[in-house]
């Protein structure tokens, strides 16, 4: 039986949309960018190499916590042994990539992006979606989106670690402090963008003050909430640029580690 805009009783119009603008452009572009990122990060996670070039470490592999890590890359120890599955060593990237992956997958903004571009639910506003049934986020697996806050907390821990990585990048390859290279800037920029992304998160906004019913009783939390609300307005922007930032930081470290370029030191 016909449903949606073709349901009985609604104006009988045989088109799924009458929009005349290029409504497909945005979902198509989002699809392309997200898919490229997924392909690149999968390739990098499996590569298991070129992620450490004293003192720079790629955000895809930090913290490097398995004994399969390259020498010197593990700043926080190696509590996890080398796991071998079907004769293949599990990449150390896998143990930590679940955090940013889970964080972004459950992010309210990315949800909108991939529901629209990958799942076409809906592809654009007032363009009928192709699905027969729809239950939204009411049952498994999508009900798990409600766990976004756990990834948010874990993401904060990861941000601290990546900030630490940026700080130790103020050393040279011999471990002496007080130096700065292009790599230092790249890692600092990456950490900054990740903080902006996390601080502008809807869960952050809720936690810091949004859940309160009375702001007047909590003046400091109200201030914090107002600040985070401002950042929150730009959350989509931070989501994108921090994604590019991570990819760029990884590409840079990879090129340095491979010897394609040398990490230029300002001083």
């Amino acid at each position: 039986m016909a449903t949606g805009v073709f349901s009985e009783g609604r104006a009988s119009i045989d088109k799924r949309t009458l929009r005349t603008d290029k409504w497909w452009l945005q979902p198509a572009a989002t699809f392309g960018v997200l898919l490229s990122f997924v392909i690149y990060s999968t390739f990098r996670a499996f590569e298991k190499n070129y992620y450490w070039a004293e003192p720079l470490i790629s955000p895809f592999y930090s913290p490097c916590i398995s004994t399969a890590c390259l020498d010197g890359a593990s700043h926080f120890g190696q509590p996890i042994g080398t796991l071998v599955v079907f004769g293949m060593v599990i990449s150390p990237a896998f143990f930590i990539l679940v955090v940013p992956l889970g964080f972004r997958l459950t992010c309210y903004y990315y949800r909108k992006s991939y529901y629209r571009s990958f799942w076409m639910s809906p592809p654009a506003c007032s363009v009928a979606e192709p699905h027969k049934k729809y239950t939204g986020e009411t049952r498994a697996p999508l009900i798990l989106q409600n766990g976004h806050r756990w990834f948010f907390y874990l993401g904060l821990v990861l941000n601290v670690i990546l900030t630490y990585d940026a700080v130790i990048a103020f050393r040279n390859a011999d471990g002496e402090w007080g130096h700065m290279s292009v790599g230092t800037l790249v890692l600092t920029l990456n950490a900054t963008l990740l903080w902006l992304y996390s601080l502008s998160c809807h869960t952050c906004r809720h936690t810091i003050g949004g859940r309160l019913r009375s702001f007047s009783k909590h003046p400091y939390r109200y201030k914090a909430w107002s600040f985070v609300s401002k950042l929150n307005g730009n959350h989509p922007l931070y989501a994108w640029i921090s994604l590019f930032g991570v990819a760029f930081a990884d590409i840079y470290v990879r090129m340095v580690a491979k010897g394609t370029i040398t990490n230029y030191y300002f001083f």
Binding site: V5, E8, T20, C125, S126, E129, E137, T138, I143
Partner: protein, 252 residues
């Protein structure tokens, strides 16, 4: 945009209908509703169209213009290309009554299902005292003119008629958020109601409601997502749930 314009108007009723092409004069500074009125006055005297204020404040003239849910009185003619055919249809998420008039009673039914404001028992009307910062968030939602464009564009019901029984829609999520954030409302299980009875979980935050709202209410960011987070507090976050049992925290 002065001169002749081409209009494709959907005409019919709940049984059948079709597009009718007309050419009509348009003057400088006019909006789509003006032009539709001219069609009515000069060529189709029985054309049904609902309107009231012509100022974007009554929410009556909601329709779809070139496939986009809009207020006809706030859509200026000069936003269209010279010679472009402008297609106007009734709202496509609701049953049609006739021509451009849709039956939006679904929304009135849903409105009645949301329990109204419940002030503290010991306060009489006129004795309510609140701080501005505490009512500010709710006030954004009071701008709603009930045009139901958000309801109409929401794919949960637009694309799935069967969801209508279990889904209240964005206009009522802002209502629930308004009351849940209200400093004097005493009903404390609005979050649970929103999730369990009004289908908040069906919304996948794809933001079309926000895109079409003529009052620019940030429906998704300021009402739906905060409500989803509040629902997580009471339903899906074991730590907070436990904390609220032990400490009986105020504010959640």
């Amino acid at each position: 945009m002065a001169g002749k314009v081409n209009l494709r108007i959907w005409r019919g009723d709940s049984k059948s209908g079709d597009f009718k092409d007309v050419q009509v004069d348009a003057n400088e500074g006019e909006v789509v509703l003006d032009v539709i009125h001219r069609v009515q006055a000069t060529q189709m005297s029985d054309l049904a169209v609902r309107w009231n204020c012509k100022a974007g404040k009554c929410g009556s003239c909601s329709m779809e213009i070139n496939g986009k849910p809009r207020l006809a009185c706030m859509t200026r003619m000069n936003t269209f290309e010279e010679g472009e055919t402008i297609t106007v249809t009734p709202l496509r998420a609701f049953p049609v009554i006739r021509d451009l008039v849709a039956d939006v009673s679904f929304n009135y039914k849903k409105a009645m299902e949301v329990p109204s404001f419940e002030p503290p028992a010991d306060l009489a009307p006129g004795e309510y005292r609140m701080q501005q910062v505490d009512v500010e968030r709710s006030q954004e939602f009071r701008k709603c003119i009930e045009c139901f464009l958000c309801q109409n564009t929401c794919h949960v019901i637009r694309d799935h008629e069967e969801n209508k029984k279990s889904f209240a829609g964005p206009r009522f999520f802002i209502r629930m958020a308004e009351l849940d954030m209200h400093p004097l409302d005493t009903i404390r299980n609005r979050k649970q109601q929103a999730q369990e009875e009004h289908g908040l979980g069906m919304c996948n935050i794809t933001k079309c409601c926000t895109e079409v709202c003529p009052e620019h209410i940030k429906i998704t960011d300021n009402a739906i997502i905060p409500m989803k987070e509040r629902v997580v507090d009471v339903k899906y976050d074991p730590v907070r749930w436990l904390g609220s049992k032990i400490r009986k925290r105020e504010g959640i």
